[in-house]
């Protein structure tokens, strides 16, 4: 490890309703791979967004190469040599690899773009990384893993001195991860500072030099990886939070009726011949890698996207679902992975969001009965323990966990019997996460049937009674919780990928 290249000290950042970062410190040296760890919602990504100028910090200092800096946007950060490789890939699918890498700073010959030069330069980058990708290939033809490599190449091409990897391995196969690590080691040799965000414990031990742990937006501590055990790190991450006990056996009553039966569902490329059954009072986990087709299955089932073929039975009766209206009428509720886009109307109040799916029941003819509406919203604020000053508060001012509760309230108001939770705890802080788990267990115990899509293995193992695993749009396995392990789920989740 070399000298210190980057220091963040006392970084503070608040959003309406959430104190996202509370005086967080981070130190990065040249030639170091530094892990940034913490549960979902611990503030890792927020910290990196402050560093790269996406968010403006409320207070604190950032020292880079000995000078105090404040980047106002990612461009400024890039120019200075601080580059982020995002979790979601920011690639333009219809352009070539080289065009993507040099976007915004194309080589030119007069006013013409010099594609030949760009291809050559991209080739040089790939040679430096020791990987084989054709710069002339169209981006959308590459696998997710290869696209990630291109993102890294793009980062290096910026003459980066600090590269941030935000959960780079989330969508990669074993082989691709090995390749990624090789590249990261090379970069370390070249004296770059690497910040590596992940919550895969095994990776941390393999690749990193030091670990900084965050929890609930606060700095917990920094450890040297070699001198610490897995348990040390976990203890720092989890802290005082006590989780719902993980399930070890299927809690669904033996004689629970099948409420939803899906047979040979096809919808586009991402849903191919998916069949499954869902029982009353059951939590059915859907596991798989990013892009496995789980969300697409849920959306097709909910009528949000068109179905090509397949049969859906609810309580033994065949139903036709062509739109969300049909699905809602049949008692299905969908809680999207992306609350802000698909779940809540941020400019409306808690009460107005609560009755969004049931407004007819809270209206006299065309007129809304605001008193009745408020009553039902208050009822659910109380029973779900939603933290809000009043039901007249705009949902935009609530934290992620409380927004999620408002969406749950929406479907409970509608009295939906089948609830699809798509990544129910994404972007929710740790304490609230546990409350959502408790709530889901409670709903299942009351006889609701729940489909839970999750990319977090721990969440799947903690919550599910049964698990369905998908890969590349196909169902590749079905397990009872008693026989499920991380290994056999992972095996099924990568079955279709070579």
């Amino acid at each position: 490890m070399g000298e210190v290249i980057l220091t963040m000290k006392g970084i503070d950042k608040s959003f309406p309703g959430v104190h996202a970062l509370d005086h967080v410190d981070l130190e990065e040296r040249k030639g170091e791979v530094h892990a940034l760890m913490g549960e979902n919602g611990a503030g890792k990504s927020t910290l990196m967004k402050v560093l790269t100028g996406i968010y403006k910090k409320d207070s604190g200092t950032i020292t880079y190469e000995g000078k105090e800096v404040e980047f106002h946007n990612t461009r400024e950060a890039q120019d200075a040599g601080v580059v982020i490789v995002h979790q979601e890939l920011n690639m333009l699918g219809h352009l070539t690899v080289a065009q993507n890498i040099f976007i915004g700073r194309e080589f030119k010959k007069g006013i013409r773009i010099d594609d030949k030069k760009m291809n050559e330069e991209a080739r040089k980058l790939f040679d430096r990384m020791n990987i084989d990708i054709d710069p002339r290939e169209t981006m959308s033809n590459l696998t997710v893993g290869k696209q990630q490599m291109c993102e890294i190449a793009k980062a290096i091409s910026h003459d980066a001195k600090v590269i941030i990897f935000d959960e780079p391995s989330a969508a990669l196969t074993e082989a691709e991860i090995a390749e990624l690590f090789k590249i990261i080691r090379d970069l370390r040799e070249q004296g770059l500072g690497i910040i590596y965000i992940s919550h895969r414990m095994d990776e941390i031990k393999v690749i990193t030099d030091r670990v900084t742990v965050m929890r609930d937006g606060t700095y917990v501590g920094t450890l040297v990886t070699e001198d610490s055990t897995k348990d040390d790190i976990i203890n720092m991450m989890v802290g005082r939070v006590i989780y719902e006990d993980p399930k070890t056996e299927n809690m669904t009553p033996k004689d629970a009726p099948v409420v939803l039966k899906v047979e040979h569902l096809n919808a586009g490329k991402m849903v191919q011949d998916v069949s499954f059954e869902l029982h009353k009072g059951e939590i059915l986990g859907f596991s798989g890698l990013m892009g496995a087709g789980r969300t697409e299955t849920a959306r097709a089932l909910f009528g949000a996207d068109p179905i090509d073929s397949g049969d859906i039975y609810i309580n033994g009766k065949k139903v036709t679902i062509k739109s969300p209206q049909d699905a809602v009428r049949n008692g299905i509720g969908y809680l999207s992975e992306d609350r802000k886009r698909f779940g809540i109307v941020v400019q409306k109040t808690v009460a107005e969001n609560t009755t969004m799916a049931t407004l007819d029941a809270y209206a006299n003819g065309p007129f809304i009965n605001k008193k009745k509406e408020k009553e039902v919203a208050e009822k659910y604020v109380e029973s779900l323990a939603t933290k809000t000053p009043s039901v007249d508060q705009l949902v935009v001012n609530l934290s992620g966990g409380n927004q999620q509760k408002v969406v749950i309230a929406k479907w409970l108001t509608r009295n939906s019997d089948i609830l699809i939770f798509d990544e129910p705890t994404r972007g929710i802080d740790v304490g609230a996460k546990n409350e959502i788990y408790k709530l889901m267990n409670q709903l299942a115990a009351e006889g609701k049937a729940i489909i839970m899509i999750s990319s977090e293995m721990t969440e799947i193992l903690r919550m599910s009674d049964r698990i369905i695993v998908m890969c590349e749009g196909k169902k590749t396995g079905e397990l009872d919780i008693s026989e499920a392990t991380q290994e056999n789920i992972m095996n099924m989740a990568t079955r279709e990928i070579n």
Partner: protein
């Protein structure tokens, strides 16, 4: 700080959003130095305390600012014309302009609330007045039938726009641009490119002019305010209004709640069409004569009144009372400009600038929110 003074409207709008979101005072983002930033903060705190006043809270900070602007403008015009502007004549004349513009602006408020836009309202209004007027004058249909024809023509255009936007997903910008030309063309073909004069007050069927003024009573004002109240109820108290505003804010979330978003989105355009048909009656009741091929300038003015009043171009936020005050400002402005001896062209420049400033203020408010 001088920046602050010139942008009263903008600041007012921004602050209104801040208040609604309970975000406390505005923080200046960007390159201002520390000293300046802290001054801004102090200013923000003062504005904040005014906004917390229960009266201000009830009426709305933005609307109070607009009322003040309206009064100041009137005072300014009186002063610049050495008092010649004062008196009922000018006010009645400005009101005549406010009536038809008010109906247009109310209509387009619903469309903008869904996140759409309608550039066809002015020409469609002329199309309504021309077709109804030509039927009246040339084919001799009775006056009540002519009024109904006008409203029906407006409705047809509203249904056409709404259906294309909601069910075929054609962008409202394109749809309304196309129907603007269709309206102009249809009106010209129907009237063989001749202007149409509706009957004078003392002629047969001249009773329609009493819709605007009955003796000394400004009936038009009363009708406009009644319709505005109905619109406010529609927007704030009914399912339709709730869905229109919600889908303007986040259409996909509303759709995924199992709501028939297409139907409700289309309904906004239908209401707009209906109000445009009514606006046509009030236009001829004030000015009698309509010429084919015109009407575009009213689009801008109606939209200006609407966005000035606090309706967000991005959809999801709308204020009927704001729209009405905004319309009065535009109407007074055009009357004042004429009184000062300028041509209508000056007004085009000013309304153009108003639209840009009001929309920019909305954009800034949204950016601060994020």
């Amino acid at each position: 700080m001088c920046l602050k003074k010139t942008n009263t409207v903008k600041e007012g709008k921004a602050n209104r959003y801040m208040k609604k979101r309970g975000m406390g005072e505005a923080k200046q983002v960007g390159t201002v130095n520390r000293n300046n930033a802290s001054k801004q903060k102090m200013g923000g705190r003062k504005v904040e305390s005014i906004k917390q006043n229960p009266f201000v809270k009830k009426v709305g900070f933005n609307r109070i600012i607009l009322c003040i602007v309206l009064i100041l403008m009137y005072g300014l015009f009186c002063a610049l014309t050495s008092g010649a502007f004062a008196g009922m004549t000018r006010i009645m004349s400005a009101l005549n302009y406010a009536y038809f513009l008010g109906f247009l602006s109310l209509g387009v408020t619903f469309v903008i609330a869904t996140g759409g836009i309608d550039f066809s309202i002015g020409p469609v209004m002329f199309c309504c007045a021309l077709i109804a007027g030509f039927s009246l004058v040339t084919y001799g249909v009775p006056m009540p039938a002519a009024v109904i024809i006008s409203i029906v023509v407006g409705l047809v255009f509203g249904i056409f726009n709404g259906y294309l936007v909601a069910y075929w997903n054609v962008p409202s910008f394109i749809t309304s641009m196309a129907s603007m030309n269709i309206a102009k063309g249809v009106a010209s073909v129907f009237t063989r490119t001749q202007s149409v004069s509706w009957p004078q007050a003392n002629a047969e069927g001249g009773w329609y002019r009493q819709l605007v003024k009955m003796g000394d009573i400004p009936t038009g004002l009363i009708i406009l305010l009644i319709v505005a109240v109905i619109c406010a109820i529609l927007l704030n108290k009914t399912k339709m209004g709730r869905y229109i505003l919600s889908l303007g804010s986040n259409k996909e979330a509303v759709r995924l709640s199992g709501v028939n978003v297409k139907k409700w989105e289309m309904s906004a355009y239908v209401i707009c069409g209906l109000l445009v048909g009514i606006a046509a009656i009030f236009y001829v009741a004030a000015y009698t004569t309509v010429q084919p091929g015109y009407g575009d300038t009213y689009n801008n003015e109606a939209i200006a009144g609407c966005v000035m009043g606090g309706t967000s171009m991005a959809g999801g936020l709308a204020s009927i009372s704001g729209t009405i005050i905004g319309v009065f400002i535009i109407a007074l402005l055009q009357e004042g400009i004429l009184a000062l001896g300028f041509t209508k062209d000056v007004q085009l420049i000013i309304t153009g600038i108003i639209v840009i400033v009001a929309v920019f203020a909305d954009v800034v408010a949204r950016r601060r929110k994020n």
